[in-house]
C-alpha cells in the first residue's frame, strides 16, 4: 500500500477482554515498530521487528502484551485481559532501514478505549 495501514482505527472493549491490533507496513519495509501514546503525551516505544524476529521487546509494559509478525509483513499486537490503563493510541511505524537515521513512517493509529 501507499502508507502504513492500521486497523481497527477505534476499538472499545470491556476490562478483562483480549484485543488484537493490526499493522500493515509499507511494502518492502523490513523494520516495524509499535509505539503507544497516552493522552497528551509523547510516544512510548513498545517493540521492534526486523523481518519476523523481535530483537527488542524491552518496551512491552507487561506479559499481557505480545506481538508477532508473519511473512515479514503484517504485525499483530495482542493485549490480553485489558485494563483501563491500557487505554491509549497504539501507533505502528515501518522503515526501510534499521540503522540510525532511518526514516520512520507512521500509521494513523488505533485508539483503544477500555471501559
Amino acid at each position: 500500500g501507499a502508507g502504513v495501514s492500521q486497523s481497527p482505527s477505534n476499538k472499545v472493549t470491556e476490562k478483562g477482554k483480549d484485543v488484537e491490533l493490526r499493522c500493515d507496513p509499507i511494502s518492502g519495509h523490513t523494520a516495524l515498530y509499535w509505539y503507544r501514546q497516552s493522552l497528551g503525551q509523547g510516544l512510548e516505544f513498545l517493540i521492534y521487528f526486523q523481518g519476523n524476529s523481535a530483537p527488542d521487546k524491552s518496551g512491552l509494559p507487561s506479559d499481557r502484551f505480545s506481538a508477532e509478525r508473519t511473512g515479514g509483513s503484517v504485525s499483530t499486537l495482542t493485549i490480553q485481559r485489558t485494563q483501563q490503563e491500557d487505554s491509549a493510541v497504539y501507533l505502528c511505524a515501518s522503515s526501510l532501514e534499521r540503522l540510525s537515521g532511518g526514516k520512520l513512517f507512521f500509521g494513523s493509529g488505533t485508539q483503544l478505549s477500555v471501559l
Partner: protein
C-alpha cells in the same frame, strides 16, 4: 535512557505571528528528529539534524541544533492555521528505535 524535555507544553498564537519551541537534554544527542502530529494521525518526520550548530530550513520552519548537541529549537515564521499540531522531538537510540519528548501543542488561530 536520557530524558527529552520539550517546552513550552502548549502554545497558542494568532496567524502571522512567529513561534519557537525547544527540545533539551542533559546528555548529548547522537542525532535528533522533529515530527509534527495532527489530530487522528501519526507523526510525520519534518527534519533530522546531526551536526552540532546545524541549521536546516523547511519553507517557514527553521531548525537549529545546538553546538554541544544537547538542545534543539524549531522556529516558525508567520505561522498559519495549517501549522497547528503536536510538535515532537525524538532521538534515535539504536535499531531505529526513537525516544520521544512529550511534545509541544501548537494552535494557530486565524
Amino acid at each position: 535512557t536520557q530524558l527529552l524535555e520539550q517546552s513550552p507544553q502548549f502554545l497558542s498564537i494568532q496567524e502571522g505571528e512567529n513561534l519557537t519551541v525547544y527540545c533539551n537534554s542533559s546528555s548529548v544527542f547522537s542525532s535528533l528528529q522533529w515530527y509534527r502530529q495532527e489530530p487522528g494521525e501519526g507523526p510525520v518526520l519534518l527534519v533530522t539534524v546531526v551536526t552540532g550548530g546545524e541549521v536546516k530550513k523547511l519553507k517557514r520552519l527553521t531548525f537549529q541544533f545546538g553546538d554541544a548537541r544537547k538542545d534543539s529549537s524549531l522556529h516558525i515564521t508567520a505561522a498559519q492555521p495549517g501549522d497547528t499540531g503536536l510538535y515532537l522531538c525524538a532521538e534515535n537510540i539504536g535499531w531505529g528505535k526513537l525516544q520521544f519528548g512529550a511534545g509541544t501543542q501548537v494552535v494557530v488561530t486565524p
